[in-house]
């Protein structure tokens, strides 16, 4: 059963269709990958789901409920959390405070101080940052800042997590760690929709992949199907990757 569905999702910036007539669905408990060249509209699609931008036409539904017209904080409280392509941590705060924000405000009910503190420290432990909870977040490496974003998103107790290029800029060892983290999150019962350029990661953990190009969906299927898809190879993967896989 799909937890998230989109029908004819379209977004215009002026005359340019950044996302045009995209149909998609993410099933409960899945890890779905979203790939495509730069400017394909991947992050725009995430921004439409999380309501950073209003949708131009079409419809997005979460657990059967229409998301059109809702504000970002409402979307978050419904159970959709996200991370950002360029990390957007609260750079003026400590690591723990960053995660506390998610714990306090992310759930639909009022959270007590004690519950929020517990939720935040659990989320930090889950991503492996317990030791740094009292560090100013701006002193952390990029990898750890991305982990803070994940912990902050998890603290909102989401059912669906949108990961926007979690692995960009990480070295191979860090990529493996991040892959492990994503699988661990899914094992907690959280559905994952992720944008990624690191093919090793996408192919390694996704159950299904969707490819965008010029705002349109050009392919969808299992990793194997996508890796062999003629259009995807032409516009994105290139011959070499195909030969290698």
């Amino acid at each position: 059963m799909p937890i998230l569905e989109g029908q004819d999702v379209t977004k215009y910036f002026g005359g340019l269709a950044a996302v045009s007539n995209v149909d998609f669905h993410v099933d409960q408990g899945e890890i779905v990958g979203l790939i495509g060249p730069n400017g394909a509209g991947k992050t725009t699609l995430f921004n439409l789901i999380s309501a950073a931008f209003p949708i131009s036409s079409g419809e997005i539904r979460f657990k059967g409920q229409k998301l059109n017209g809702l504000k970002p904080h409402k979307i978050c409280r419904m159970g959709i959390a996200r991370t950002f392509q360029e990390t957007k941590v609260f750079s003026n705060m400590l690591v723990l405070q960053n995660v506390l924000v998610g714990a306090f405000f992310g759930s639909p009910n009022r959270v007590t101080q004690a519950d929020a503190a517990r939720e935040a420290s659990q989320a930090l432990e889950f991503v492996g940052l317990s030791a740094m909870s009292e560090t100013p977040v701006k002193d952390l490496t990029l990898e750890n800042q991305k982990r803070v974003e994940v912990a902050r998103a998890l603290a909102t107790k989401p059912e669906l997590l949108l990961l926007d290029e979690l692995m960009a800029g990480l070295n191979p060892a860090e990529v493996s760690e991040a892959m492990e983290l994503v699988t661990k999150i899914r094992d907690r019962g959280i559905t994952i929709f992720m944008i990624e350029h690191v093919m090793k990661a996408i192919m390694g953990i996704c159950e299904r992949i969707m490819a965008l190009h010029h705002g349109e969906k050009i392919a969808e299927g299992t990793c194997q199907e996508i890796a062999c898809n003629k259009t995807v190879i032409d516009v994105y993967l290139g011959e070499e990757t195909h030969a290698g896989s």
């Binding site: 970002p72 996200r82 609260f90």
Partner: protein, 329 residues
């Protein structure tokens, strides 16, 4: 013997004791000083309220409001217009509420603006208020300016002291609450804050209105000390810039930063301005530039550095003692 350790373990107690001493000092101030000094202290307290309430919103969210004068002036005019109808102590909350309501309205319209645009709008708001009051006075009321019946210095001092206590306590509790966390996160990254479930517009507008409420109440209490006001006096941009300079000078990372800044600058302004006006403004500018360049976190930012230095010194001294003991045995 160990001063640093004593300070760190009994921090709360010391702080409360220190605050209590300040309260006693202000409360007994009129007993051993001249009336002019009492007026100086009242002015300093006005600046404390303005600086602390400005930092409550702008210091945390980073939205640079230049509107304190608009809300302060609104308080002054509320007093001027209601002084004959209502008792003084009733006008104070009314002045606060008028400013609160006005800020709510302004906030709903303008807090969608970001960065420099918000600053310019709030600047324009002060100019707008001046013009509109002038228009009302000349065209409708047929008089220029308002006379305000003086109230004795002690009453004004104690009322202002009460407002300082309320403002500081309110700021303290807001900073500690989830609202404080939300405000900080808006200052850190507003877009991310929105996506973490914070209703950023509502939070900003509400705290903007709360901070304006204290400015309005301060205006009511300040009014009798002015005796005569017109639009240019009540809505002087001086009241917008001073609190900002004081808060920046004192440091906005800590609650006491704006208080310290307001006390130092307020005192200097009141005592030096009369005698050497131009030199005062010159020195004022130099000090401010120096603070921004060398103390980006203000005076309050100096404290942790000094604590580190002091702690290091103590540790070295202790080591020295131990070294001597070793040498003796």
């Amino acid at each position: 013997m160990d001063i640093t350790r004593f300070i760190s373990t009994h921090r709360k107690l010391l702080l409360v004791g220190f605050l209590f001493l300040i309260l006693i000092f202000v409360a007994t101030f009129p007993l051993y000083t001249r009336a002019s000094d009492v007026r100086v202290l009242t002015t300093v307290l006005i600046y404390v309220v303005l600086a602390v309430s400005w930092a409550m919103f702008s210091g945390t969210t980073g939205y640079m409001s230049l509107a304190p004068a608009a809300f302060f002036g609104l308080g002054i005019y509320t007093m001027a217009l209601l002084q004959k109808e209502l008792p003084f102590f009733l006008i104070i909350p009314i002045g606060g509420l008028v400013s609160f309501a006005f800020a709510l309205l302004v906030g709903l319209v303008t807090l969608r603006l970001r960065g420099i645009y918000f600053a310019i709008f709030t600047f324009g708001l002060v100019v707008f208020m001046t013009e509109i009051i002038q228009f009302l006075e000349t065209r409708l009321w047929g008089q220029h300016g308002q006379h305000i019946t003086p109230i004795d210095n002690e009453t004004l001092l104690y009322t202002m002291l009460g407002l300082v206590v309320v403002t500081v306590l309110a700021t303290y509790f807001i900073r500690r609450s989830r609202y404080g966390l939300a405000l900080l996160s808006i200052g850190g990254n507003e877009e991310a804050a929105e996506h973490m479930g914070i209703n950023t517009t509502r939070t900003k507008v509400f705290i903007f209105a709360v901070s304006s409420m204290f400015m309005g109440a301060a205006g009511v209490i300040a009014a009798p000390g002015l005796i005569y006001v017109n639009a240019n006096i009540a809505f002087s941009l001086f009241y917008s810039f001073m609190p900002i300079l004081m808060a920046v000078f004192g440091g906005m990372g800590q609650l006491y930063g704006p208080v310290v800044g307001a006390v130092i600058f307020g005192y200097l302004e009141k005592t030096l301005r009369a005698q050497l006006y131009s030199y005062f403004m010159l020195g004022f500018g130099i000090i401010l530039v120096a603070v921004i360049l060398f103390l980006p976190n203000g005076i309050a930012g100096l404290v942790p550095t000094l604590q580190d230095k002091l702690g290091g010194l103590m540790a070295r001294l202790r080591k020295g003692e131990q070294g001597e003991q070793h040498a003796n045995t």
